[in-house]
Symmetry: C2
Subunit: 506 residues, 2 copies
Amino acid sequence: MSAAPVWSVDPRTGNPREQVAVEATAEEVGRAVRAAHAVRDALADRTARAAFLRAAAELLEETGEHIVEVADAETALGPARLGGELARTAAQLRAFAEVVDEGAYLDVRIDHEDGSRTPPWPDLRRYKIPLGVVAVYAASNFPLAFSVPGGDTASALAAGCPVVVKAHPDHPATSELCASVLRRAAARAGLPEDVVVLVHGFDAGVALIRHPLVSAAGFTGSVRGGRALFDAAAARPVPIPFHGELGSLNPVVVTGAAAAERAEEIGAGLGGSATLGVGQFCTKPGFVLVPADGDGDRLLKALAETVSGAGAGVLLDHRIRDAFLTGVRERAALPDVEAPVTPGAGGEHTVSAGFLTVPAARLTAEGPHDALLEECFGPVTVIARYTSQEEAAAVLARLPGNLTATLQAATARPDPAAAPLLAALAPLAGRVLVNGWPTGVAVAPAQHHGGPYPAATSPSTSVGATAIERWLRPVAYQSTPEALLPPELREDNPLGLPRRVDGRRA
Amino acid sequence: MSAAPVWSVDPRTGNPREQVAVEATAEEVGRAVRAAHAVRDALADRTARAAFLRAAAELLEETGEHIVEVADAETALGPARLGGELARTAAQLRAFAEVVDEGAYLDVRIDHEDGSRTPPWPDLRRYKIPLGVVAVYAASNFPLAFSVPGGDTASALAAGCPVVVKAHPDHPATSELCASVLRRAAARAGLPEDVVVLVHGFDAGVALIRHPLVSAAGFTGSVRGGRALFDAAAARPVPIPFHGELGSLNPVVVTGAAAAERAEEIGAGLGGSATLGVGQFCTKPGFVLVPADGDGDRLLKALAETVSGAGAGVLLDHRIRDAFLTGVRERAALPDVEAPVTPGAGGEHTVSAGFLTVPAARLTAEGPHDALLEECFGPVTVIARYTSQEEAAAVLARLPGNLTATLQAATARPDPAAAPLLAALAPLAGRVLVNGWPTGVAVAPAQHHGGPYPAATSPSTSVGATAIERWLRPVAYQSTPEALLPPELREDNPLGLPRRVDGRRA
């Protein structure tokens, strides 16, 4: 049996562009993991790691034009968006270099011996060490920022973990390019290239999660694929942490006062956010509660104008396009569901954006309309028209977990609905927004890109400084002579790390 | 069908003492979870929570004499040990009250709007909120510190999570007493009693982990029971974090120089640690690498004296006693395994302590002797005699994960074996000790009681300040008007919380 070829495909035509690689066999996955595992000690040096991350950012920018060209050819996301994504990805690598430099993530805690305690304290010194080889499953919709050089890879390397990336089949050429950039950056920083290894193929991904030397995994993708890998990670003889982002509706609630105040602005803003990147953001507002009144009607009119003007777009691949068309068709066929702007097939390879409406009353109890509470990937959003705040809250209470939840409230005067609705939204999501739009995820220290299941499979984030915490485990040294302590834990703090001593910040 | 009775049993005689309760049906478990869930908002007030934890410590001490008496009657652990455990448990409750007061665990991070960033930062404010109802599975061997009022309960309550405890069948009367103490303490602090609810029964424990309103679980017990619950938690439609401590060998390595320096001291220390509490500590040193030379022989002689002098002891229940006797018999029957002091049945209800020896060469590759690398709960430890540092390291490389790993090295002069052996031990455990003994787990901020699987099912700790992190999830507020922000995130920091602002400690 010869190895299965991996083709780069042009989603604008459906035509293969070039054969990029072959799918890895289980044996090849084993070799990849062992290669990464063998070089793990090289990543122990924080200074070299930070230099590596910065070199990766630099090399990514140096080869940016070529990367964007290739990524556009196989994703159709467009050079402007991809250029922005590349800049963001480079900034993310540099942000993690800063996190490594500062060392607060090591969470150093030192308790000196204290016989007066119950029971007595011995000398205890704790910090965090890398878990080991991390498997990263790249996303379709962000060929850079959530793929080979993306947040999972950057945070795992920052933690000191070698990475084996399973490329997404929608952009194998970009993946190969980026992997070579990362490997060259490693060499430039004096590290072995195998701190990053790339594999292709669905079966390879399954073999990867099961490999005994893999210590943790990061994933961005669908509920179906992510749950299968989560289950495999949990079923291992030695289970491993699986940090997956699986799906999100990203609900929005517009208060009556907000609609009265700025229906047109909200409608246009929603339309822009829901159709951004042809509706392929994991933070796309996919479900919106809008008052069933004249102000709500005005909002929908502005939304319709914006969405109609979005033009046809090319989705990432034909499987995604088929799923979008089927998903829209099934939802639109439900009783009382209307499509003021019908989302659907454009040309042979494109789709057009649209939105559906439904009375919120259809969603307050279990029934066939629950399909509207499931994410439909692509340029469609569902508008539920509500007649009372209680009805809106009843629908919110039935939603699954989300990456984001957004409140649109009045700004010019106090909005009595704002606080109760925000309180109903916060339990649903990892990030809560007021009078903003969820698409666009800042790479900032306080960012949280996660949320209750299925938004994430663990209470962790894949974006922001704390993403590094996923790849570490604490270890405490008890009564250990200074000479045998890791430098991070020595009394004189030779590395100048922030730390807590005897229970207090030092 | 009538409800199954729950009996308190005297392990010294095997006789039932009294019927304490009945096992909860699935319906009753549902009622317990819903009751706890219904009062979750009452725990939002940090001041009330801290007062509650302190009241619990006080009430536990006030009723301490009675609790110790009952606990001794159903565990045979003895009043001295149980009195110490009670003091430790009260101290632990107070330590978590301090953690709540300080508020550093909220991990507040504030990033101000900054248009100069790539991509631009909006105003982002992140902190941590409680996950919801936590299921706590109590341990057999610590009827207080790892049971109803123990670390899992204390840390979950500190995080703001109501708790449903599944009592351990070895001490149901103690569990009822402690639950009533916690519920009275809640009332004293002005909180609803249902912030802590107790259920009994194996099936109740299974129903509990599957209940949709349970958000996370803590467990201390066996690999078999813990793994079954871990699997059930992962298989839920909405999987939940399962923080379990499942088992540990707690390896010790004695260097040649250490044995030469103080063979008798190490032998006696090991004997004391391995037989403490009739060998029923999860941190019992269960596997010890000792040089196969004359110094090692001296060490074993001292060990034999200490262990022989330990006297007969009563194990927690007859099931544990049977498993101990079978486990020892099977291990002792392996080729080349000797029993200088034979562990085994004492009287009808007691056991006597002992230890086994085996050449380390028997353990460098897979084979029937791998049974010696599995925990045997009770007063037995396995001594592997090694002939070279390489052989010792080869055996260490085959060990599963552990709570602790201990090095005994020379103290009077430099010990060249110390650093390489410590480097081989650190990857195996959550806590590393030098020239100490692993039994005894200080309740200190830097403590880490966890480790690679099966020591723990997640990179978390069940003892120490950071145990609270298990029951929280982050949420970020974006561009949220001051009036709608939780007080923890307001610009003027009305609660005086430690926080990081714009990526720096404030």
